[in-house]
């Protein structure tokens, strides 16, 4: 296998993690990862070294944005299935964070996940999203405040078992 393909293969687990968090759906996430890999393979000749990871995140982020655009045209979005084991985490906090992520705009969610889950630097995220670093920072700040507001408002509603 070429070095290009080896690097790509090595990036797949992290891409799946990012895609799952972005889409909150296992099947959709793997579809997007697959599409990302297909595109990357097609552009194999365009890749002249550098950080392949950031490049793959860029393709994946663009593909997901395209996907959401088409979904936005449809009247009803699929609701989160509470019974879904994949979505229901081990503790209530875990499910809350999934719902909180849901509240964010696509750009905010992608910026936050790239930083906190994928450990990209602000500069790398600015390249992935094609915006200045200042924009990345304001997306992060807004994302965090939105999530905090959501989690704060949810907390009193949690039923205590004991």
């Amino acid at each position: 296998m070429s070095e290009f393909r080896e690097q790509m293969e090595a990036a797949i687990p992290a891409l799946r993690r990012y895609a799952r968090a972005l889409t909150r759906d296992a099947e959709t996430a793997d579809d997007i990862v697959q599409d990302t890999l297909v595109r990357a393979l097609r552009s194999e000749h365009l890749f002249h070294g550098g950080d392949m990871r950031a490049w793959l995140y860029t393709i994946l982020t663009n593909l997901n944005r395209n996907r959401l655009r088409t979904l936005a045209r449809r009247p009803v979005l699929a609701p989160i299935k509470d019974s879904d084991v994949a979505i229901t985490g081990p503790d209530p906090g875990s499910r809350d964070i999934v719902r909180a992520l849901e509240m964010l705009t696509e750009e905010q969610r992608s910026a936050l996940l790239l930083v906190v889950l994928e450990s990209l630097t602000y500069r790398e995220v600015s390249e992935v999203q094609g915006v200045p670093i200042g924009t990345v920072m304001s997306r992060l700040a807004r994302a965090r405040n939105e999530i905090k507001a959501y989690l704060d408002s949810e907390r009193p509603a949690l039923r205590r078992v004991k």
């Binding site: 293969e9 490049w55 593909l63 906190v116």
Partner: protein
């Protein structure tokens, strides 16, 4: 030392949490947090968010990916029939989406020739840029043939711009029905898969400046030159769109002879 010198912005608090601060600012933030409990609580809440997100999704990075994602497998499949199927599904939605666009778009009451061009160009943009396997009829590596063919059909010599400096390569082109007759459609792509298209066809209204229009997700620059209308479309939030359109406009403008008389 005044309080104003030391003020810590929310942006810095974020950068602190993400370990993006130089050491001196880091110390300053820590000193600030010691005396500002509200901000300290905020930082603690943000850290908790990070922990929750990592707990929830972190395990996926150690899971073995399904076989359908194996790189060699995908390479063998000649670039993925499944991806093409997904694209086809998306395209089906886009036909409907495109029809709705003109109602919310530009100059609904009495669309000018150029406005109708722009609408058609954006519909074509949406329809074909999501295609994985068949985005174009003639690929970009057959450029001379592509240009000759489309020039003949449109009825005017076409010169699709070279946009390598803008990081775009020509994916190829196709022939499309336009508001006034056959239109040419050229697709460009950057290394991260973002696509931009140039749509052009003949118009009566000879010459206009570069104009801009944007829908919810796509945007376009359009102009007319030498009785040809051009629409350069791309993602609405792409900062590069203006530069690309300007480069295309300049190249096409340079080719046209100076006005007579």
């Amino acid at each position: 030392m005044t309080d104003r010198d030391q003020i810590i912005t929310e942006a810095e608090l974020n950068a602190y949490v993400d370990d993006e601060l130089p050491a001196d600012r880091r110390t300053a933030v820590e000193a600030w947090l010691a005396t500002h409990p509200d901000d300290a609580a905020k930082v603690a809440a943000w850290r908790k968010q990070i922990e929750l997100i990592r707990e929830r999704f972190g395990h996926l990075a150690i899971e073995t990916p399904p076989r359908r994602l194996a790189v060699e497998h995908l390479a063998q499949r000649r670039y993925g029939a499944i991806a093409a199927a997904i694209a086809a599904t998306i395209a089906a939605f886009l036909v409907g989406a495109g029809a709705g666009w003109s109602a919310r778009g530009i100059e609904v009451a009495a669309p000018s020739e150029l406005a109708r061009f722009t609408t058609d160009a954006l519909v074509a943009y949406r329809l074909y840029t999501v295609e994985v396997r068949h985005p174009v009829e003639v690929p970009g590596d057959q450029r001379p043939h592509l240009v000759e063919w489309l020039s003949k059909r449109v009825g005017s010599p076409l010169h699709p711009p070279e946009l390598d400096k803008q990081g775009l390569k020509l994916v190829g082109g196709r022939l499309l029905p336009g508001p006034t007759g056959p239109s040419a459609f050229f697709m460009y792509e950057n290394p991260s898969g973002e696509r931009f298209t140039l749509y052009c066809g003949r118009v009566k209204d000879g010459q206009t400046a570069l104009r801009y229009t944007s829908g919810e997700q796509n945007a376009a620059y359009y102009w007319a030159d030498q009785n040809l209308a051009y629409v350069l479309s791309g993602p609405a939030e792409a900062d590069a769109l203006r530069d690309i359109a300007q480069a295309a406009y300049d190249q096409i403008d340079r080719r046209s002879p100076p006005p007579q008389g």
